[in-house]
């Protein structure tokens, strides 16, 4: 037993080390394909993530790209790649430059000095319609297009996102305001539309979003990935109660699936462990617009297990924990509410 465990640990350690060694190879294209292409597409066309056209890369610095990889966009799908080595991050940036034939525009890191109050007034007049009062941008979704509906326009950038503000220099923000971004619909405000001073004021206002940024509220330390409830009823009654409660909450119930079903022959399968799968297609459709990758946690399932001593437990996934794996604030908000629905169902079942 001990030898077996030791052997397993050695294998797992080897796997860990091997994983790190593999990912340490600073091949930018390979790293991009592995870590970025799923969202930004193979050629940077965008998808779940923003498009990365040459026009965009031409007006951002290498430092911005590096910091974006490191910081991500908290709450906006783009993850923070904190495990990557500096060499790996540099390799991806080099690949992006080579692939798009762009170079670092070399913006200064010096802060732009402007009047925040005046900037706020100008922002209210010219920017608020797209970027919103709080700078988070408008529209639902993961940023650009959705795999389910592809006719969406590019969403306005979340310029108050702390990942963006930590990555972009004032000078870079200034250039974008001056020249706009034709490919994303951002108009140019230079060339006499706004004066240099007014543009500085807007930049100062955008930078001031930093002071409003708070770290998201962490989950309570006692939050677990699954809620386990003891049922006061027998197995059959518990299953029936779960189905009745789900129907009452407007969920469509799929045929039962035993936990072991499909993994072993039908005569050997444990019939006292059943997954009750359910869905509300209207809600699901809305959720897939917010997060196309939800399939990995679908369908919703409550598992009812009868133990050898006859006691029955219910295993219910904790949506508050799961939603945070998607780095998507909209989903977090929605699932925090849905978590309450699940709790109400369980209350009804275990009454």
């Amino acid at each position: 037993m001990v030898t077996k465990l030791l052997l397993r640990m050695c294998c797992a350690l080897a796997a860990l080390v091997a994983t790190d060694l593999v990912t340490a190879a600073p091949d930018g294209r390979e790293l991009y394909m592995t870590h970025c292409s799923a969202c930004h597409h193979l050629g940077g066309e965008g998808g779940i993530g923003l498009p990365l056209p040459a026009a965009k890369l031409a007006d951002v610095t290498d430092d911005y790209l590096r910091k974006t990889l490191r910081n991500g966009r908290p709450g906006r799908v783009m993850p923070a790649f904190q495990r990557m080595s500096d060499a790996q991050v540099d390799a991806i940036v080099r690949f992006l430059r080579q692939d798009t034939h762009t170079t670092d525009p070399g913006f200064s890191d010096a802060p732009v000095v402007g009047d925040v109050d005046r900037g706020k007034a100008i922002y209210g007049e010219h920017c608020i319609k797209c970027h919103g009062e709080d700078g988070t941008g408008e529209g639902k979704g993961t940023g650009v297009t959705l795999s389910r509906e592809r006719s969406f326009l590019v969403m306005p950038a979340s310029i108050s996102n702390r990942g963006f503000l930590a990555s972009a220099s004032d000078e870079m923000i200034r250039k974008v305001v001056v020249h706009g971004r034709k490919y994303s619909g951002m108009p140019a405000f230079g060339h006499g539309k706004l004066s240099d001073t007014e543009i500085d004021d807007v930049v100062a206002f955008v930078r001031a979003f930093e002071q409003q940024q708070a770290e998201p509220e962490p989950l309570d330390a006692e939050e677990r990935p699954t809620h386990i409830y003891e049922s006061p009823h027998d197995f059959e009654t518990t299953v029936a109660n779960v189905k009745a409660a789900l129907t009452g909450a407007n969920f469509r119930i799929f045929p039962d699936r035993l936990l072991e079903q499909g993994l072993i022959d039908e005569f050997s399968v444990n019939s006292r462990q059943v997954g009750i799968r359910f869905c509300n297609f209207n809600v699901l459709y809305g959720m897939l617009k917010i997060e196309p990758r939800l399939g990995i946690v679908l369908p919703c399932r409550i598992t009812v297990i009868e133990h050898e001593d006859g006691t029955v437990t219910l295993a219910v996934p904790n949506l508050r924990v799961i939603s945070r794996w998607f780095n998507n604030d909209e989903l977090v908000e929605l699932w925090d509410r849905m978590e309450q629905t699940f709790k109400d169902i369980i209350d009804e079942v275990t009454l």
Partner: protein
């Protein structure tokens, strides 16, 4: 021997928790091939890794039945009976996450493969044996995605 084992377990937990603390919660891959075809490569690779395919969920079918416009969207459920049994006996908190699931999502003529990284669950459990299971699942899932990527690339480039 016992002392060595406990030191190893502690060392393993330390190393793995450090590596897992920042683990990406999802593993993903984009394949430049139609989803219907990619699904076959996925199923084949899953089985080659010793897993049984328990079920294929037709998410697109369900949504279409209710009048929602959707593209190809399937979820493959797969597992190993001994692992699923061990999980349900020893770690009931994990039954919601077995069998494992891999989503096959069409994006025009390309396919997005997504799977939850089991290591995202690691910080919630101290058990060394379970940590090993999560690492092994992670390793297998990465390998499955790699295999599909390489196999489809061969087919696309005509080198298979």
């Amino acid at each position: 021997m016992k002392h060595l084992l406990s030191r190893l377990v502690a060392g393993f937990a330390l190393i793995s928790s450090a590596a897992m603390a920042n683990a990406d919660a999802m593993l993903m891959s984009r394949i430049p091939m139609r989803a219907e075809l990619v699904l076959e490569y996925v199923k084949s690779s899953i089985e080659e890794h010793g897993y049984s395919i328990a079920h294929l969920q037709l998410c697109d079918g369900g949504m279409s039945d209710f009048g929602y416009k959707t593209d190809f969207y399937r979820v493959v459920f797969f597992g190993k009976i001994d692992e699923v049994r061990r999980i349900s006996e020893r770690y009931p908190e994990l039954v919601s996450y077995v069998p494992l699931k891999l989503a096959v999502i069409a994006e025009k003529d390309e396919t997005l493969l997504t799977v939850l990284n089991p290591e995202a669950l690691a910080p919630y459990f101290a058990d060394a044996e379970l940590q090993i299971q999560l690492v092994r699942w992670h390793s297998d899932l990465e390998s499955i995605l790699d295999d599909v990527r390489r196999a489809t690339e061969k087919r696309i480039t005509g080198t298979d």
